[in-house]
Symmetry: C2
Subunit: 176 residues, 2 copies
């Protein structure tokens, strides 16, 4: 079932994504093209406080042309340990630091054309307080009961893939 790359052309090398077009040979010998976005990978985390509230972030996403409600997340730096990245991103985006962090899974976001894999974590024993938004930050933190976050998924208010996967994985784990 595998495909063999016979020729590659890098189209673009950017800050976050690279684009390469591969000529591939299919298992039956035929040839095709694959447009691949190379991405360094990312982390996302479900941060739960002791009252089982979850921390979500609200931000404008130009690709979606709307403000989305998501779990905290961020792109991996080269060679960075995903857990270290997750702790950093939680602090940067929400002001909270987890006492416990545990990997709960991972997802390819769109394996048809991007290499991006997101490591998913559950963060608990939170300490800190919600960051005040200043002029250079465009992220608002929202804290709501896990059950309400699940209800927002079902209503279609949360439509970000990693957030749905992460919240649902935690819900199953906790029997919520």
């Amino acid at each position: 079932m595998r495909e063999k790359i016979t020729h590659s052309e890098q189209i673009y090398q950017g800050r976050i994504v690279n684009l390469t077009i591969h000529d591939v040979q299919l298992p039956n010998g035929a040839f095709s093209k694959r447009e691949l976005v190379y991405h360094p990978g990312a982390v996302a985390l479900v941060a739960l406080d002791e009252a089982r509230n979850v921390l979500l972030v609200r931000q404008y996403r130009i690709a979606a042309d709307q403000i989305l409600l998501e779990i905290p997340a961020g792109t991996l730096k080269p060679g960075e340990d995903p857990e270290v990245c997750a702790i950093r991103e939680l602090q940067e985006e929400t002001g909270y630091k987890p006492g416990q962090i545990e990997r709960i899974g991972g997802i390819f976001v769109a394996p048809g054309y991007t290499t991006e894999f997101i490591h998913l974590f559950l963060a608990t024993d939170l300490t800190g307080s919600v960051l005040a938004m200043d002029d250079d930050e465009f992220i608002e933190t929202e804290r709501l009961p896990l059950e309400q976050a699940l209800a927002r998924i079902e209503r279609g208010d949360i439509i970000d893939g990693k957030s749905i996967a992460g919240l649902m994985l935690v819900a199953r784990r906790l029997g919520v």
Copy 2:
């Protein structure tokens, strides 16, 4: 919180993805760049038979460099109705036709850099039979109980974002 596009440069126009770099002005007046992949959108569906088995497809994904187990899915043609696309893709990938199809949600797969939005459906009342794989198809259909598919997510055997979101949404809906 919105960003204003001040200049755009199209880098690549491909078969499935286009890449455009935008210069944007942030809400505080500062400038930044956004690398955006334009994608026509897609559909994915959880197809359940009367015994509550789900149809999954197994295929090699060059972006993941591995064979992934996923729910059936496909890219929208320009102007295509997502439900029509979902019915077509289910037939093409598995050989089954749904008697009933219902939208259960949708996801932005990676709103940081791609416009792709996947419409998620639940397909039931299936008729047909599993396609024999021929020389030009590289997709294998697998049929397994919904509970086992959920167990595979929890074990990390299913790591495709849309598949986890779709299966979990159906599981909550059915109380599984």
